[in-house]
Structures are given as C-alpha cells and as structure tokens.
Symmetry: C2
Subunit: 255 residues, 2 copies
C-alpha cells in the first residue's frame, strides 16, 4: 500500500514510545495496581507485547511490582517533579499562594492550560473551604473553571477555537455551554483582570482567578481562590488575587 499523505494525528503511532506512553497513561486516579491483562485491555495492545513492555519498564523503574500486578514507579514521581520545577512556577508561586490561603482560609490553586483543560500544579487547601475535586496533577475542563477562563482570556484566538471546537461540556448546572456567553465573559475578564467562577465548576462553590502573564501579555498560568458561595464574597478577595497574580507575573517572567 502506498502511504498517501503522512498526516500523523498521533493517534495510531505504532512506535515503541507511543506504546510506553499508552501504558503509563493507562493508570487512572482510582487505580491501585493493574495486571498485564487489564493493561492490555486498556491500551488495546496484544497481551504478549504488553507483557514484554511491562517487564522492560519494571527493569527500568518506570513500573513497580505489587504481587502479580504493577503500579507506576517512584522514579516517575521524581521525574514528574522535575517537569514542573523546570518551569519554576511552583516554587515562585508557593509563598504567595500560602499567603492567600492564610488570609482567606480558603483553597488556592495554581494551574496551567493544556489543550482544552487546565492541569493543577499546586493546590493548597484551606480550613474553611469546601472539599473540591481538584487534585495536584489533575485535570478539569478549562471553560468550567476560574483559572481556565483567566488563561483563555489572555491566550491566542487559536487556543479558544480549540476549546470551542471540543465543545463546552457542562460539569455543573451553571457551566457555560454557549460560546457567545463565554466570549463575552472573556472580554470582561480582559477589562477587569479577574475571572469569576459562579458555581460553574461545582454546586455552591465560587472562585476568583487571575492570570500570570509573560512579557508579551499572554497567560502562562493562573491562580485562584475557591470557597463556599454563601460564605465567600468574590469581589472582596478579587484585589488580593489580582495583586498576587501581578506580582507573580513579574517574578516569573524575569526569572
């Protein structure tokens, strides 16, 4: 067969690298340890190939044995820490986030955008805050979160197009599902420098977020404070969020 055009949608890569990545990504938050057959099922790989790859990954510390099953290796945790450390973001933001939590007694977030979702780099939980589903290293649809909207407001049009093309999936009853409404909010965020989330990511939870901008004025990350809608006044804490975001923008860019 003649391979006509080589448009690689990264979906069907028969390369060993893709297989290893598939195996690593097969682990989900709820899992403890997985067996070879289960991994083969999730990745779609033949069981024999899965078995061989698993053995290699065990030998290299990417996976660890747990009886007959395997789990993600500690080495991956070490590598993962270096991944964000290279951004310098987490270290720079930590003290500011700690101050924000201290002052508000609510939960603060640091997140970046990847594709159509935000990934939480840091989560500092506050004593008065609701038990949020956000998790360090976890994901959430960008359009349904304060940090996500803050980043989208200061990103290129192509980024927003990607998000809209993927569809505004609702995660709460008040999640924005209209692209027109979202565009309107993003414009207002650009005016005020603050993004609000009013029960769009979870019932009874509100949030104020601010973007961390680079020298060109594009968002590289965002921070936020989340709390109960009946206990936290978002307009009261907005100045603190905005101040911290501005300070961090300066710190991070001239690193």
């Amino acid at each position: 067969m003649r391979a006509a055009e080589r448009n690689e949608p990264q979906e069907s890569s028969p390369s060993t690298t893709a297989r290893i990545t598939a195996l690593l990504t097969a682990f989900r938050p709820g899992d403890d340890a997985l067996g070879v057959s289960e991994l083969a099922r999730r990745t779609g790989l033949p069981k024999t190939s899965t078995h061989r790859l698993v053995r290699h990954m065990l030998a290299n510390g990417l996976l660890e044995r747990d009886g007959d099953a395997v789990r993600l290796g500690l080495r991956l945790f070490e590598i993962g820490q270096l991944a964000t450390r290279q951004r310098g973001l987490v270290d720079a933001a930590r003290p500011h986030l700690a101050d924000l939590r201290e002052a508000t007694r609510n939960t603060v977030h640091l997140a970046v955008l990847e594709g159509t979702e935000v990934v939480y780099l840091d989560v500092l939980r506050g004593p008065d805050a609701p038990r949020l589903p956000s998790r360090i290293g976890g994901r959430f649809p960008a359009h349904a979160t304060g940090v996500g909207k803050a980043i989208l407001a200061y990103s290129g049009a192509d980024v927003l197009d990607t998000v809209l093309a993927a569809g505004l999936r609702p995660v709460s009853k008040k999640t924005i599902t209209s692209s027109a409404v979202l565009r309107g909010q993003l414009a207002r965020i650009r005016d005020s420098g603050i993004a609000y989330d009013r029960e769009e990511s979870g019932v009874g939870v509100v949030c104020a977020a601010g973007p961390l901008l680079d020298g060109a004025g594009r968002a590289v990350a965002a921070i936020s404070i989340s709390g109960w809608s009946n206990r936290m006044r978002t307009d009261r804490i907005a100045p603190a969020v905005r101040t911290a975001a501005l300070t961090l923008s300066r710190t991070v860019t001239l690193r």
Copy 2:
C-alpha cells in the same frame, strides 16, 4: 573522554525502554531545557538515535519543545502524581504533617526508601525552619537523614546490607560513616521508636523522625521534623512525631 560521569543504571540494555528511561533521567534538578546533543552526551546514545527518540517523545507529550531544546513534559507531572497517589500515603499523611508543622513551626518531611536513598514524597516548610535542601521528589542518602535511619531500623537485613555495601558517604562533618555506629543507632531506634539526626545531614540542623510501619512491622515510609539545632529540642518534639507516626501507621495499613 571519560565515561565516568555516565548514569549508573544497567549498562547493557539496548532496549528502547531503557533508552527512553535514560533520556528521562538525563534531566537534573538544575536544568531548564536541554538540546539533542546534550542529551546524547548525557545518555551516551548516538546523536541520531537521540534525535529520533526525542521526536517520538515530543509527539507523545513526554517531552515539550522550548525553542530548539526540549524539557520534561507536563504529562510526566500528571503521571508522577498518580504514582504516589497509588500509595495513598501522601493524602493520608497531609493533615498530620500540617498539624506537626503548625505545632512546631518547623519543616516536616514524608519520605520513602528506594535503594540506598530516601525520596521525599512531601515537604511542608515551616516559618522558623532553616532552608533545607530537601525537595519533593528529591533524594538524599538514607544513612545521613532521620527519615532514612528510621526506615532502615525497621527494614530487613538485606536492605541495610545494600546500604552498607554502597558505602556511608559523608554529606556533613557529622554524618555517620562507621557501619558499627550506624548499627548501634538503629538498635537504639528500635528501642525508642524515634530516630534522631544531629547535624548529620547538614550543619546546624537537627531532626526527629518516626517510621510508618505496615502490619508486619516493616517500615514503608517515615516522617520527620527538622529545625535549627540551637532552637529546637528534639526530645521535646519526639513524642509528637512518634504519635503521628503511630497514627499514620494504623491509617495507612488498613486502607
């Protein structure tokens, strides 16, 4: 040209998995982004092969572009978080560690043993504590830390033999370098349930640590509090550490 600086792992593994692992572990804490040639130099792989692998890893999100160079991908951070989450340790320990920091205003650690070193799973820095070199996801020789000695005291003889065979490398002027002294201390730790570090990991820094034990009485991790030697009385905080360690031991095992 000397091959001394080379990474230590298995020398004769020409497998693709080993190469990918080598590339991932080529990144060190200080680095920002690395070029293909630098990666080839560190891993010992031919530059062409490095280039091809890097391209594959970029396509799969294991690496990310930064100009001409590459850095560890965000996906690795997500995977790394799942790696420790599967242990459940971090989540279970968090509140207890936070309490310990609150009570002592010093820095608390959660660490596990891997090989001859401890890996820090969590670090909560206290306002009164010295600026320690410990880092989440970072490593330190087990024999030179409180957490390390706490774990070694409740580990099998083979584990200790491995550590001794690797040599008791000094990291401070007071680091234990005699296997006899270390054995003696481990015996005393087993009696008291508490491990002390008296400036063995750093000048002016002391620490009290306690092991987290499984049902069989073997250490799976350890926690510690570190502070200035002239400001913190280790025997005063030892009971708190021991209590938290015992509570956590119970929580973690019957998860």
